[in-house]
Structure formats: C-alpha cells, structure tokens
Symmetry: C2
Subunit: 363 residues, 2 copies
Amino acid sequence: MLTKRIEKVRKFLDYKKLDAVIVSSVSNIFYLTGISHFSKDEREAYLLITKQNAYFFTTSLYMEEVKRKIKGFTLQQIGRDQSFEDVLEKICQKEKLDAIGFEEHDIRYAEYAWIAEVTENLSPVSLNIRVQKDSDEIEKIQKACDMGDKAFSHALSQIKRGVSEKDIQIQIELFLKQHNADISFRPIVAFGANSSMPHYESSAERKLGNNECVLIDMGAKVAGYCSDMTRTVFFGEPTKEQKDMYQTVLESQQKTIEFLLKDVPSTRYVLAKDVDKITRDYIISKGYPPIPHSLGHGIGIDVHEPPSVSPNSDVVLRTGMVFSIEPGIYIPDFMGVRIEDLVVIEGESLRILTLSSKEIIVL
Amino acid sequence: MLTKRIEKVRKFLDYKKLDAVIVSSVSNIFYLTGISHFSKDEREAYLLITKQNAYFFTTSLYMEEVKRKIKGFTLQQIGRDQSFEDVLEKICQKEKLDAIGFEEHDIRYAEYAWIAEVTENLSPVSLNIRVQKDSDEIEKIQKACDMGDKAFSHALSQIKRGVSEKDIQIQIELFLKQHNADISFRPIVAFGANSSMPHYESSAERKLGNNECVLIDMGAKVAGYCSDMTRTVFFGEPTKEQKDMYQTVLESQQKTIEFLLKDVPSTRYVLAKDVDKITRDYIISKGYPPIPHSLGHGIGIDVHEPPSVSPNSDVVLRTGMVFSIEPGIYIPDFMGVRIEDLVVIEGESLRILTLSSKEIIVL
C-alpha cells in the first residue's frame, strides 16, 4: 500500500518534470510512511522522494523508532551537527538531482531560504496526492464517522437545563478518549444566538435555558483519520421561524445529495462549484442570507484538505473523494442552523458516511 | 496588558526600522489579542501592526465573535471575495507603508509569494516578543504545572501489572479534561527498553511487566499556557545499574539548578549554552553517552518556544524567562531516564515550577 503511494509521488515527478520532491507536511509523511506522531509545530522529519530512491530525514529523538518501523527508505539523521539542508545538498550532488519540488503550502519562508541556498532549481508545488482515497482510507473514515455518531448521541444525552456549552464540549472529548479515539478538532457547542457564529468558541459561563437551539459541530479521529459532522437541535419546542430555517437548511442539503446521486453515476463531469451552487442558490431563493462559508471541504488525515466544494472550485468530482456537505443559515442575535454530513464518491455511486438522524430533534 | 504587548511590537518596529509587521502565528495572535481558537493548520487570521494602527484580518466565520471581543483593532474581513493580500495592499497604499516585516518561521512559501506581489519591501523577521513572560503569564504557567503535578500523581496511581502504555496515556488525558484543563502535547508513556526512545509513540499492545521502568513525559494546558514535565519511575526494585543511571541524571539536573541559583542573582550574564554545558559535561564525565537533545526549551503559549537551552544557544538568561531543564541518558535496548522540570527566572532568583518529587520512586 505504501509502495503504491510512493509510486503516486513518482508519477507526480514525471508530470511536473522534477528529479525529486521534498515532502515536509506531517500529513503527507504519515500517508507515505505510516508514522503519525511528528509534531505539526516543529520540523522533526522530511522525506525526499527521487525517481529511484526515498530518503527519510529525522532527528536523534526519533531515529531508533523510525529505524524499527520504516522500510524502503534510506534513513538520514539531522540535527544540530548536520542540518537538513547540509544532508540534502550532499544527496543532490551524489544523485545529480537538479529540479527539486517542495510543498509550497507547508514549507515556511525561513526553510525555503535555507533550502534555496543549496539547491538552485527549486519549484513550489502542491503535492495533492491524498485527494482520491483508497479503500483502506475510506474504511478508516467510516470508522471515524461511526464513532462521531456515537459521541453525538452521547452529547445529546447530556443536554439539560443549566449545562454549559463547555460541559457538552468536554463530554464529547471524554467520550472519544474513553473509546480509544480522539477529537479531529475541538468541538463547537453553541447555545441560542451563539449558534450564529460559525466558528464560535464554547463558553463555560453560557448555560442552557429553555427554548434554545443547540448547535454541535464535532468530529472523531480514528487510526489517524478524521470525521466531521454538525447537527442543530432544539431544547424546547422551536418557533415556526426556527423550524422554517431548519427545514430550509435540510432541504438545501437534500437537494444537493439528490443531485449527486443522480449525476455522479452518469459519465459526465460534475464540478465541485456546481454542487456548491445548488445549495447556495436554494437558500437564497428562500429569502435567507447566503452561506458565509464553502459548502464543503475534503477530509481524511487532515480535517480540511482538498477538494474544496466552494464557488471557485473547478475540481472534477471523482471516485474516492470524501467531502462534507454543510449548508448553514446564520442570523446574528437570533440563531444559526448548520447540518453537515460526510459523503464519499465510490465508483458510480455516492455513499453518505454520517448516519445520525436529520429529522428535527426537540429535547 | 494587551496594550503593553502591542507596544512591544512597536518597539520591535523601531529597532528593525520597519513601518509595520504582519503577525500570522496563532500563538502571537493569541498573545496580542487574547483570541486563542484559530486553527494552526489554516489561515484564519492575521494582524498588521503599524506605528499608529493595528488591523485584525479574519474570515466571515469569525467576524461576529472577533468584533465582540477585541478592542483597539480595525477589523477587516478577508475571504473568497477579497484576499488578505488585496486588503493589505490597500492599507499599505493608504497608510504609505513601505518596509513590512513578516514572521519568517510561520509564513508559508505560498503566502510569501502572494504577499510579495503586493509589497516590495518585505523583511523576514523572528517576532520573539514572548521570551520574557509577564506576571500574568507566569501565574498561568504555574497553574498548568500544578495541574500537571496532579495528573502525574493520578498516572502513578494507575501503574499496575498488565496495564498498557496507551492506558496510562489516556488516563492522563482524561484526568486533565475532567479538571477543565487540556494536554499541552500527547503524553509519552514508555515501559522498559522503550524509554530509550526520547519521542516514543506509546503502544496499546505493550503491557507492563515486573521490574520495568516507566517514563512519563507530559504537560497540562491551562488558560492557553503549557506545562511540561518528565519523571522516570520503577515498577519493582531497580538494579544497581538502573539506580546509578537515575542518580546521574538527577545529579546533573541538581548541579544545573544550583548553578542557576548561585549565578542568576549576580550581575554577570549567564548564557543558555553555559547552562546546557554543565549538565551535558556532568553526564559525560560519569561515562554515559551525551544527551541526544537540548537540555531545555522555553515554554509558554507554545510547548516549545524561545529560549532554547542548547549547546549553540547564545541567549542571555533574563527575568521572566520560563524554560525546561531535562537531562536524559538513553541506552538502546536497555533503558532511558529523563527528569524534566520547568523553572522561571524572577528578578534575582530562580523558582522551580514543577513540584513532583524526584526521589527515586519504586512502585
């Protein structure tokens, strides 16, 4: 499996006419080597994939462990005595590597400046090798979604008068840890008017009162893969205005899923931006403000990764792509409703990975 | 407090002869605005600090919340319709800003390339404004250390035959969540010979047997500030060889702390690398292999931040600096011992923030 993934990188080299590419993002390093625990904040590892060889650079802190776990890579120690750039320069000379790519969305400016000192022919690239998932990855994402559904049920069971947003948030995190999973991002729990802020930070002071909505946006992480889902439920009977808002969001999502179910099987191309447009237009047609975010995002090792499902996204939807469909309506000082599911395109069909009910829930 | 911090940035502008600086790191944004929940993986916010003004750029997802929370910043929405670079260009023209700094260890190459298109006179800088902590920050770090000590006690209570490394790791995470805190990094729990790998990934399969050491490296996060500590304890009586190793690590740390207690009060300068050297040399003098990592690192909002306490670090230790002292001896296939505490330099004295016992613990 990992060998196949390295082959993907080599095809990319051919396509881009590169001799080698520096892989620096922790997520791509995990994808290509299976080693997941490097810090995203520090530079503890790099890969260099050439047409024939593969190099793994890491610090003394990880050498012994990496040596035991990886196959097919030449291991190179980096650190105070010998920087990544020093070792890279020697390999480039020895292997006569000229055109080198690097991950432009991951390499920091300072690193770029160091690498540019030892290699002349550098190309910024987007190494989007994870857009189409293989069956092993889809299975892991399904497991993460199943775990997310369970954690959401648990969260619902904790909703009662006087509970704080933070209480519910912590309950979700505890549930996942207790089930040998993790959060894929800090859950968003928003009561009442707070739900109109899409990336709201949950508060320990905000307690639930009667007749308020509860928006929960959360995801699980299982075996290194993420899930992501949002539901908006009601604590006490919603007003007609609230119900209408909810139904509009739900219908906009249903229309989009129907479109995908109908059109993916055909041989014609579907662009991500056309999918976004269906939902967006529907919400506007009902007199609500436009969705202030993209309709969806790809997901896998990272909680947000390509393909983007947004008004500017010219990506053609293909088999193996996993992404969210998450329309929302947000009215400041009143309420926000968002409903989010993950879906995967599998061959000629679309499969919905999130199974929690979307019927209006009144607690 | 936040105003004082902005003044620090303005002093930096004067010193570097810059008209403005782009602040992009999530940790510096938290430090300067108090808003902590932007994703480290995405670009959801930037600041621009000029000599007179301060701008806060964020996406529609955060606008409403940021508007409510911040003072003293001009808020600018960025997104699909208007990129950060577009807005930046307009402000630079309007305010006649020429020399602009950016955080070279944070800005990705692709961002740099975009920004470089709209501003000619760009300077890569290290905006190290958080090296000397104020009393409010030190108090938060002390709280994180206290919580870390409690979580470590809890972890000790969970050590028994047959428990897995992962079990202990999860217990630490659960304890912190239940106490309204968080982990500052995924805890490292290593049994027996696994402890010789400094950044080992704990395993669910590895169960504790009799007469094994247990290395625990963990930290709490409280109010946005991190702690970090390591202890190595014994499940069953250690051998003489193991005890000697432990004592050597402990003595090397004690010598270093004594040196700091003695020399910090004097008026002469102490360099970080001299502190590192005392510990390093002591361990080598006892016939053990050299420490394969730095003696210590600064800590605060980030778990690793300046000052580095390493053989190359020419930093002069000053009041308000908080850092770890963490000597270790690692013998592959046998054992690793590491002992780590946080300390703070306060005026003319040194204070140890980690209070867990360092006497040899036999369970």
